[in-house]
C-alpha cells in the first residue's frame, strides 16, 4: 500500500528541506517550471481526478480552471492554503503541517504556478503553535533555496509566500470568510458570485485550497494521473488521511486508499471500540456531517459512497459515538459549537442555531416535550441548504437531522422519563 503523503513522516519529527530533497522533494517544481505551461499543470491535475480534501470535495483542476489566465488577467493573483483546521473532530492537516512542511510548500508552488499566482499565503489557525514555527522556518528555507522569491529557478517567475496566523473563529475556514479575515475584516462569508477565482482577495483572482489537497500535488506531477487513480480503492482518486476519535482502542490518523471501508478503518486501524463500549453512531467526516450507524460500517469511505449512504465524506476524520454517550447531549454539544461559531450575518443561522441549542439543552435536562422534536425537525428544514448565506447552518443541521432519525428513541426517553437516561 502506497502512502505518498505520509511515508516520510516520522512521529514527532519534521522533515527538513534537505531530507525532503533527498526523498525526491522539489523535483516536481523543477520539472514543471522548466517543461510545462501553467495550463498543462491544470490539465494534469484535472486528469488525476483530485478532489478537495477540506470537506466540500470539489474537483481541484476544475476549481482552478475558472481563474482568468492570459495577458489581460488581473494581477496580483493569489494562492491561499487553508490551514485553518477547526472542524471539531478533525486533526489531519496538523500531521502534514508539522511532519512534512516542504511537501505542502512545493504543492503550493505548483498550484500557484498553475494559476500564475504572484503571492501566496498559508492561513494557519492560531492554536497550531508548533506548525506556525515549522512553517515559518520552512518558508525561509524554501526562499534561501531559490524555490520562492524572484526569478524562481531562473525561470523569470516570481512567487512570494507568507504565513498568516488567525485569531480564532471556525468560520474563517469558509473560503470567502477566510478572505475577509486576511483583509483584516470580520470573517463573514461573501455572497457568490463573484467567485474568488475571479474576485477574491482584495478583489483579485484567488484560489483557496486545503493543506491535504495541496500536499497531493507534487506526487501527482511526479507520478502521473494514472498512478494517482490507482492509489484509490474507489472511483475517487488518491489516498485520504482518515482519522478516528472517540472511545476506540487506538485513536489516530492514517493515510489509506480512498474508499477504504469504515469498518476497516475503525476496527483494524483504530483497533475497534475500547473495552466495554459499543459503537452507536459515527460522524464520518467531522462535526457537520450526518450520522451513520453500525449498519453502514461496510460502506467505502469515498465521496460517492458516503453520499449514497446519506452523509458526506467531509474531512474524513470520524467521530465515534459509543453506547454510553447520550446522543442528545452529543448533539447539544455540536449545536452549542455551531451557535457560538455562527458569524451572525444571516438571520436563520444567527437566530435559529441558539434556539436549537436551547431546545436540546431542555431535552437533555428532562424538560422537553414532543413539540420540541417537531420544532427541531422544522429547523432542519429552515436552516437547510438554500436558506442561509453559507454552509455553516446547513452543516449544523446534518448531525441533528440524522440523530432525530437514528436515535429518536433516545430523544423520546428523555421526554418520557423527564431526565437523561444516561445520567447527564
Amino acid at each position: 500500500m502506497e502512502q505518498p503523503l505520509t511515508k516520510n513522516i516520522k512521529a514527532g519529527q519534521t522533515l527538513s528541506l534537505k531530507e525532503y530533497e533527498q526523498a525526491g522533494g522539489y523535483a516536481a517544481v523543477r520539472k514543471v517550471l522548466k517543461n510545462n505551461a501553467p495550463q498543462e499543470v491544470q490539465q494534469m491535475v484535472k486528469d488525476s481526478g483530485l478532489k478537495g480534501r477540506g470537506g466540500a470535495g470539489f474537483s481541484t483542476g476544475i476549481k482552478w480552471s475558472f481563474v482568468p489566465m492570459g495577458d489581460d488577467a488581473r494581477h496580483p493573483k493569489y494562492l491561499i492554503c487553508n490551514a485553518d483546521e477547526m472542524e471539531p473532530g478533525t486533526f489531519k492537516d496538523r500531521l502534514l503541517l508539522e511532519g512534512n512542511p516542504h511537501q505542502l510548500i512545493e504543492g503550493m508552488i505548483l498550484a500557484a504556478y498553475a494559476i500564475k499566482a504572484d503571492i501566496s499565503y498559508v492561513f494557519l489557525r492560531w492554536a497550531y503553535r508548533q506548525a506556525a514555527e515549522i512553517m515559518e522556518r520552512s518558508i525561509s528555507e524554501a526562499y534561501a533555496a531559490g524555490y520562492l522569491g524572484k526569478n524562481i529557478l531562473g525561470t523569470g517567475w516570481n512567487l512570494e509566500m507568507y504565513l498568516h496566523t488567525g485569531v480564532g473563529r471556525y468560520i474563517c475556514g469558509e473560503e470567502t470568510a477566510l478572505l475577509n479575515a486576511l483583509e483584516g475584516k470580520r470573517a463573514t462569508p461573501r455572497a457568490k458570485p463573484p467567485f474568488p477565482q475571479v474576485s477574491g482577495l482584495y478583489g483579485k483572482p484567488t484560489i483557496v485550497n486545503n493543506v491535504e489537497t495541496l500536499s497531493c500535488l507534487p506526487h501527482i506531477i511526479n507520478n502521473g494521473a494514472v498512478w494517482f487513480k490507482s492509489l484509490s480503492a474507489s472511483e475517487d482518486s488518491g489516498t485520504k488521511l482518515y482519522g478516528v476519535s472517540g472511545k476506540v482502542k487506538r485513536p489516530g490518523v492514517w493515510e489509506l486508499p480512498l474508499g477504504t471501508t469504515m469498518r476497516e478503518i475503525i476496527e483494524e486501524y483504530a483497533g475497534g471500540m475500547a473495552n466495554g463500549y459499543r459503537l452507536k453512531g459515527v460522524l464520518p467526516g467531522g462535526a457537520s456531517t450526518d450520522f451513520l450507524t453500525e449498519e453502514h460500517l461496510d460502506i467505502k469511505m469515498d465521496y460517492t459512497s458516503v453520499a449514497a449512504a446519506g452523509s458526506r465524506l467531509g474531512t474524513g476524520t470520524m467521530i465515534v459515538m459509543d453506547d454510553a454517550t447520550c446522543p442528545v447531549g452529543f448533539v447539544h454539544n455540536l449545536q452549542h459549537f455551531f451557535a457560538q461559531e455562527s458569524c451572525g450575518w444571516c438571520t436563520p443561522c444567527r437566530e435559529g442555531l441558539p434556539w436549537v441549542e436551547k431546545i436540546l439543552l431542555g431535552l437533555e435536562k428532562g424538560k422537553g416535550s414532543t413539540e420540541d422534536i417537531e420544532l427541531l425537525q422544522m429547523h432542519t428544514q429552515y436552516l437547510g441548504p438554500g436558506n442561509t448565506y453559507c454552509a455553516l447552518a446547513p452543516g449544523a443541521m446534518e448531525p441533528l437531522q440524522s440523530a432525530l432519525k437514528y436515535f429518536k428513541d433516545d430523544f423520546m426517553a428523555h421526554i418520557e422519563k423527564h431526565k437523561c437516561p444516561y445520567g447527564n
Binding site: D93, R94, A181
Partner: protein, 159 residues
C-alpha cells in the same frame, strides 16, 4: 486636552512592517491587534483608540473586528490563559471532568480570572488533537490526554 494612550515604539515598528505587506493600512488591523495584545495582554478601549488613530480607521470599526475574534481579548486576562477544548471528541472523552477539576482548583468558571490574576479560564473549539482528547492549551503550550491527577503538576509550572 484629551489624554491619549499612544502606541509604543516597538508596537509602531511592528505595525509598520505589517502595513508594508498589505495594499492599504486598514488591512493590517488584525495584525495590529495581535501586536498590541502581545505587549499588553489584552485590548483596552484606549488600545482600540490608539490603533484606530494609527491606521486611520474609526474606533468602532476597529472594535467590530476586535470583538469578532475570540482570541482577541477585550477584557483583562490573567498572566496565563487556559484554553480548554469543549468540542465533540473532548466531550465524548470527558472534558467535563477536567473542567470541574479546574473550577475546583482555581475557584473560577469559564470566562473568569483567578483572584491572584494568574489564570484566565476559557473554553475553546476543537484544538485539532482529538485523537488525544481531552486537550487544553496554557498560553502556547498544548496538553493532550489530560487527566485530572496531572492538573496540579501542570498548573504548578505556571505559578
Amino acid at each position: 486636552m484629551e489624554k491619549k494612550e499612544l502606541l509604543t515604539e516597538i508596537e509602531m515598528r511592528a505595525i509598520d512592517h505589517e502595513i508594508s505587506l498589505v495594499p492599504y493600512k486598514k488591512a493590517a488591523v488584525i495584525e495590529a491587534l495581535k501586536i498590541v495584545q502581545k505587549q499588553r495582554r489584552w485590548i483596552s478601549d484606549e488600545s482600540i483608540d490608539a490603533i484606530a488613530n494609527y491606521l486611520e480607521m474609526s474606533a468602532a470599526e476597529v472594535d467590530s473586528v476586535a470583538t469578532f475574534y475570540n482570541l482577541i481579548f477585550r477584557k483583562p486576562v490573567g498572566k496565563h490563559v487556559i484554553l480548554l477544548c469543549d468540542s465533540i471528541s473532548c466531550y465524548v472523552m470527558g472534558y467535563g471532568r477536567i473542567y470541574q477539576a479546574l473550577q475546583k482548583r482555581l475557584s473560577i468558571q469559564f470566562g473568569q480570572t483567578t483572584k491572584d490574576n494568574l489564570f484566565t479560564l476559557l473554553p475553546n473549539v476543537c484544538l485539532g488533537c482529538c485523537d488525544h482528547a481531552p486537550a487544553m492549551m496554557i498560553d502556547e503550550d498544548l496538553y493532550e490526554d489530560v487527566k485530572e491527577e496531572q492538573l496540579d503538576k501542570i498548573l504548578e509550572a505556571y505559578k
